[in-house]
Amino acid sequence: MDLDRHLPEIASGDAAAFGRWLSGAEPRLRGGLRPFATSVDTEAVLQEALLRTWNVAPRVQPDGRPDALLRLAARIARNLALSELRRARVEPTEVQRLERLADQELEQRTEPDPLLRRLIHRCREALPAQPRRAIALRVDACGGVSDTELAERAGMSLNTFLQNVRRARLLLVECLARGGFAWEAP
């Protein structure tokens, strides 16, 4: 489904509409950054690209093709990643190779699956107490709090907190697989 259905509200400054757009756009944009995963911190590039996309969204004109805002966001993210590569003095031939890889079309992804959401909730209920608490803190922090601070809130050492978050995710991934969810191949 064309994510540009949210564009008029986003352009008028509706952050909630940008959130609805993000839920569909983020996985596809992240997938587009996969070629850069060993060369730049793609999470930082993606967040910066999304902030810039929000800023320029009022000037985006639909061009008759679907997902104009998504395509613009992908270009912003790609250019940011390339800029980081050049700043890090990565070999020009390697920059060109990654640029070609990133030029491929954005992956088509389906909307979030309500069955998957139910399965994730069910799997979370089955987690042991400490991993469940650790991943809940990570999720509730919404990217706004460092792990050092989250560990303090949990009353755990940083090392223990990180091990519990990792264990929770591994258990959730196993549980989702048992429930029939297949992760997309990289």
């Binding site: 400054g13 952050a15 940008f18 959130g19 609805r20 993000l22 839920s23 983020e26 996985p27 992240r30 997938g31 996969r34 995963a37 060993t38 730049v40 911190d41 793609t42 999470e43 930082a44 590039v45 993606l46 967040q47 910066e48 999304l50 902030l51 929000w54 800023n55 009022p58 979030p112 998957l116 959401r117 399965l119 994730i120 909730h121 979370r124 991943i135 990570r138 999720v139 922090a141 919404c142 990217g143 706004g144 709090v145 460092s146 792990d147 940083l158 090392n159 990180l162 091990q163 978050v165 990792r166 995710r169 959730l172 991934v173 992760w183 990289p186």
Partner: protein, 74 residues
């Protein structure tokens, strides 16, 4: 080393003086294979975060929304 990867999987990122999003300090300590692992684990983590969120938003999406709600468009 798994702890460093786990820190990079977080959606938390430091800001520079201009408010720009900077790389996680631990990311620089990872080798190529670990950076790839961090990327794939991040994909799984964000899927789980979005699945647990009432609005279907990941930690990345929430971090970005928190930023845009705190600043004006230029």
């Amino acid at each position: 080393m798994k702890d460093l990867i786990e820190q990079v999987v977080s959606a938390w990122r430091p800001r520079d003086l201009d408010g720009g999003v900077r790389a996680h300090p631990s990311w620089y300590d990872l080798d190529e294979a670990q950076r790839e692992e961090a990327f794939e684990e991040t994909v799984r983590q964000r899927t789980i975060e979005a699945g647990l969120d009432a609005e279907g938003l990941s930690g990345t999406a929430h971090a970005v929304l928190a930023r845009i709600q705190g600043i004006r468009r230029p």
